[in-house]
């Protein structure tokens, strides 16, 4: 039987383990705050950008702290999310008669196109590296929040466009991955 002192030692070691993981996660994901600040300065909706940026920071730190396949989804998610973010910010800067929330000339289509490209990036990584559902979920969350920081400058239609574009390419990839990869891991012939 374990002594109470040994139990206490184990508890303290566990606390040290979790605290160290959290510290590392915060430090590793801190550079994203620069991206959030830059986007907030370039974009026009400071509040929305900060809200999406804060959610992204919280999600990224949680995934890195948790580890395993969730941790490996953070970098692809951010990389894919940068595409719609840059598309939206560039579209906003282009010389056109921007109608704000209803700008269907450049802004909303840019978010939709960015979502499509981001979905292709995440989908190809997920299928190629044969990741589980946790990876897809984590990468999608990080990717959509990163992209939403940029698309928020067009308002709700921009964010909806991003999500639609993303789903347009991710859902087929997810279905393909499910049929091609997951049965194989369960020992069932595809």
């Amino acid at each position: 039987m374990e002594s109470p002192e040994l139990k206490e030692s184990e508890r303290r070691a566990r606390r040290a383990y979790e605290a160290a993981r959290l510290r590392r996660a915060v430090v590793a994901f801190a550079p994203i705050l620069l991206l959030v600040t830059a986007t907030a300065l370039v974009g026009h909706r400071f509040g929305y950008t900060l809200a999406f940026g804060s959610a992204l920071f919280a999600l990224g730190v949680t995934l890195l702290w948790y580890g395993r396949s969730a941790k490996q989804a953070v970098l692809p998610g951010v990389a894919a999310g940068l595409v719609p973010l840059l598309f939206a910010l560039c579209a906003r800067q282009m010389n056109h008669a921007c109608g704000g929330d209803r700008c269907m000339i450049f802004c909303v289509p840019a978010c939709l196109a960015g979502g499509v490209v981001a979905g292709i990036v995440v989908g190809s990584i997920g299928v190629r590296t044969r990741r589980g559902f946790g990876f897809w979920l984590a990468a999608s969350g990080v990717c959509l929040l990163t992209g939403a920081m940029g698309c928020a400058c067009v308002g709700l239609p921009g964010v909806i466009g991003l999500a639609l574009g993303y789903m347009l390419t991710t859902v087929p990839a997810l279905i393909a991955a499910r049929h091609a990869v997951w049965p194989e891991t369960k020992g069932i012939d595809p």
Binding site: E5, A13, R14, A16, A19, R68
Partner: protein
């Protein structure tokens, strides 16, 4: 030593974030860590404190663990460092051990003082070595082969011992 491969795999899983390996890693590491601390500090209370602190350091650095290297020497090197810190603190507290200060030295007391000073000097010199050398020497102490083949390990040990001798000579002028 059949636990060794399991410990390596469990430590790698823990480093990756698999919390279910935590209890098993703790139970595998605690006894050798406590033995190491007892052998270095010769005092139950200090050894328990050092082992506790060593385990906290090991688990807080679990994410740094390199799965290609054996986990036990790595963990023991971290704990040995904690013991060394306690020894240094102790030596700073009393440059001359008070139990020998008021009484004339007997032969046994002199031997004990000499042995303590030598141990302290060796631990100080070991602090000058690289982590890999420290791990090799600790693995030698625990009669481990550190995952390397016999000949490779012997060569590593020879080099580590030579570097320890050099460090000792540099610090104290004797070897």
């Amino acid at each position: 030593m059949n636990d060794q491969p399991d410990l390596n795999a469990l430590m790698a899983r823990l480093g990756d974030g698999d919390r279910s390996a935590f209890g098993a890693v703790f139970r595998l590491l605690w006894p050798p860590t406590l033995r190491l601390c007892l052998s270095m500090l010769k005092n139950d209370a200090d050894a328990n404190d050092a082992a506790q602190q060593g385990m906290e350091k090991v688990f807080s650095r679990a994410s740094d663990y390199d799965p290609s290297r054996p986990a036990l020497p790595w963990a023991l090197a971290i704990s040995a460092w904690e013991c060394r810190t306690i020894l240094r603190r102790r030596s700073r507290r009393r440059e001359t051990p008070e139990e020998f200060a008021d009484e004339p030295m007997t032969g046994a007391a002199e031997d004990e003082l000499l042995r303590r000073n030598l141990t302290r000097a060796a631990v100080e010199a070991m602090g000058q070595l690289s982590d890999a050398d420290k791990e090799t020497l600790i693995a030698t102490f625990w009669d481990e082969t550190a995952g390397a083949s016999g000949a490779t390990f012997r060569k590593r040990r020879e080099r580590a011992l030579q570097r320890l001798r050099d460090a000792f000579k540099r610090m104290y002028g004797i070897a």
